[in-house]
Symmetry: C2
């Protein structure tokens, strides 16, 4: 491990990062005047080029970096070829763990002590927003989301994975990387956990991610295989983050902007982008807590394979003969129209548009779902939506022909965006 954060508390005091940068960071974080509002990242304030964009340090964005599912399947095929004793062990695992690990967002591994299980996950990707602090928050929320999808609400430890782009100037690096780390760490703190270490390398593209680990008693996690006919499906964040992030970049690209300028205004796009950042940086922790309160039968988080991709994976691994039917698509305001105007590019309404740090898709008993949604709104001030039903079927998921699109407006906080 290349660094441990505990160590920073004592050892790194006497280094000489420019105090100017630090002051500016504090200003952006609103620490100087005790007001929680935060100013958006401004490259000029940090003496960076006014056109500095974090997203330029990778050719792919966010979860778009993932190896496609079908390729991954092929690559993993090699694991079938074990003939020197491994089968015994995997067989052992399957016997004792009865499908634990199958189709889940996090690995669940029984440990040697006290009936406890290790639940852990890792994720890393490329910058998809230009504010480094927010990018750090999104990366942290995103990796924790895999635990929350399992109903796990406490994370015992986090590690951070970071690649500094070889194309960054030293100045850019010294401004941007500490802001990313700070965002990551703040969200970890908000989640009630700590970042104790990690790995930092140099790489052509900037990458950001982490590892989230917790040790659980059996009642602390919910194996996502227990949906029953009559359940309803709840989604805790709106769709459309990928569309919003792309539309925001197109504002500066005349040819692309022309494609959607009759559909949306710059102000619409700016609001959608803010809403997307706010949504991606938000923890699914309350959503996970309430899964226990309202007896959820299983959940997954919606990320790189889109709503339908993840719904299908969840459906596939159910114990009962059920299928998921999705009727409603809550989408960040105007982004459904933008997606439509772009033809087949996003496949948002078909359920294939990648999300980053998306919401939980939860199977809830029908009589509990409304209360779940009401409770999450009461606690967090964010809506959740009943988007579909669980019916008898062959473990598949589909979206109906003409789903209802629910326009989700940008979140206004204390009269200001973000």
């Amino acid at each position: 491990m290349s660094f441990d954060f505990n160590r920073t508390m004592g050892d790194y005091i006497h280094t000489n990062i420019a105090q100017d940068n630090v002051s500016m960071v504090r200003l952006e974080l609103g620490q100087s005047d005790q007001i929680p509002l935060r100013r958006p990242f401004d490259p000029l304030i940090h003496d960076l080029d006014p056109h500095f964009k974090l997203t330029r340090f990778a050719d792919l964005k966010g979860r778009g970096c993932k190896v496609p599912q079908e390729v991954l399947n092929k690559l993993l095929e090699g694991f079938q070829q074990d003939e020197n004793g491994h089968n015994e062990q995997s067989h052992f695992l399957h016997m004792t763990m009865t499908k634990i690990g199958i189709g889940m967002d996090a690995a669940v591994v029984p440990i040697r002590h006290g009936g406890l299980s290790l639940v852990q996950t890792t994720d890393y990707f490329y910058p998809l927003v230009d504010d480094p602090f927010i990018m750090g928050k999104i990366a942290c929320s995103n990796v924790l989301s895999d635990l929350y999808a399992m109903g796990v609400t406490e994370c015992d430890n986090m590690l951070m994975l970071l690649s500094v782009s070889t194309k960054m100037t030293e100045k850019e690096r010294d401004v941007v990387i500490p802001l990313i780390m700070k965002g990551f760490k703040e969200t970890a703190f908000e989640a009630g956990t700590t970042v104790t270490g990690g790995q930092t390398v140099v790489n052509p593209w900037c990458t950001i991610g982490g590892v989230a680990t917790t040790v659980c008693q059996p009642n602390e996690f919910i194996i996502p295989d227990n949906a029953v006919v009559g359940d309803v499906l709840v989604l805790t964040k709106p769709l459309g983050t990928q569309v919003a992030v792309n539309a925001h970049q197109w504002v500066d690209q005349q040819d692309k902007w022309n494609r959607i300028k009759l559909i949306v205004s710059e102000e619409d796009v700016r609001k959608a982008y803010q809403r997307a950042m706010d949504s991606m940086a938000r923890l699914n922790k309350v959503a996970a807590k309430l899964m226990h309160k309202y007896n959820a039968h299983g959940a997954t988080d919606v990320t790189g394979f889109g709503l339908l991709g993840h719904a299908q994976t969840l459906a596939k691994h159910q114990k009962n003969e059920v299928s998921f039917v999705i009727h409603n698509l809550p989408v960040i305001a105007k982004m459904a129209s933008v997606a439509k105007a772009c033809g087949n590019m996003f496949q948002l309404l078909q359920g294939h548009s990648a999300e980053t740090s998306g919401g939980l898709l939860i199977c809830l008993p029908r009589e509990q779902a409304a209360a779940y949604c009401k409770d999450i709104e009461k606690v967090e001030g964010y809506q959740a939506w009943i988007i579909g039903i669980v019916e008898k079927g062959n473990r598949t998921a589909r979206i109906i022909d003409k789903p209802r699109v629910i326009e989700v407006p940008a979140k206004e906080k204390d009269g200001e965006l973000w």
Copy 2:
């Protein structure tokens, strides 16, 4: 998390990877005739270009990818600026954990259950050898080594981190990535642990790494801060992996080869490279087990910052007023001469040459050290060396002016290399 390996056992049977590749992999692994010997990776057998080299898929090699320590310190500086309650928490951590986490190879975090602690680490880097299977083994050994340095001998779970290079053809990807995964998984199996999941992305450079996690009772790990005057320093693997890996690449580069061709033969370099691969792929697990048997006072593993770099970090965090003095440098045969012929390039004899998956540097009671070395040789067939002493001092480490270089020959296994 983008994939889980448990799932591969059932779900990925019916994909259509070319059976030819699989057969060739099995041939290389010696599975067809039950002989444990393994043939070196041959691109031709896999229908790849005969000049295919895994190391070409990154501009940096192995641990050379790490952000330099002084830059890292500067970047981590931002963590000092927390003024919204985080200090309290870190203070809490320091109080209750009495320096746990300081200068260690793995994070140690007390968890909510039964006096247990989570011990975990992560590491990833770029290919430094051209055999994908061996590369996978090295990456796995390397990440586990951080646990072993803490005296931890059991790993509860591993995750794998993999980036597929954007520059690989599909054919190259489909040959190389499963072999890397296989090597990683085999070494995990050898270590008595399993790989349950991970993340795979596409990236300009190929990267390979993982996460190793275990849950321990207090007597299962050894906090590396207890060296006392009179201890001796033991090293469990020879130095010189970086030199060997580079020299091996120079065989094909006339201008670089000219620099060292009067010092070593191609055969010398080939043997050194084999020894380096063998050494990097070897687990430090027995070394860790014997730390308990012989009452070790602390250890670290020698990696990217070189022998002296890691010795200094270990010395710095000792409770007692001690310093480390290193007299002997065990080096893969001929590599000390190669390093000398290259001027200041490697700084091998100065202790700064990066190692990948290097040995443990252990503080042992003087009367136990010889028995430790004898025992490790008996169990594993590999030598360990007493390389220095612990004396009274101000928590620093140094190598004496003219250290004795111990030439460590290539390991011959059953009459054949590797």
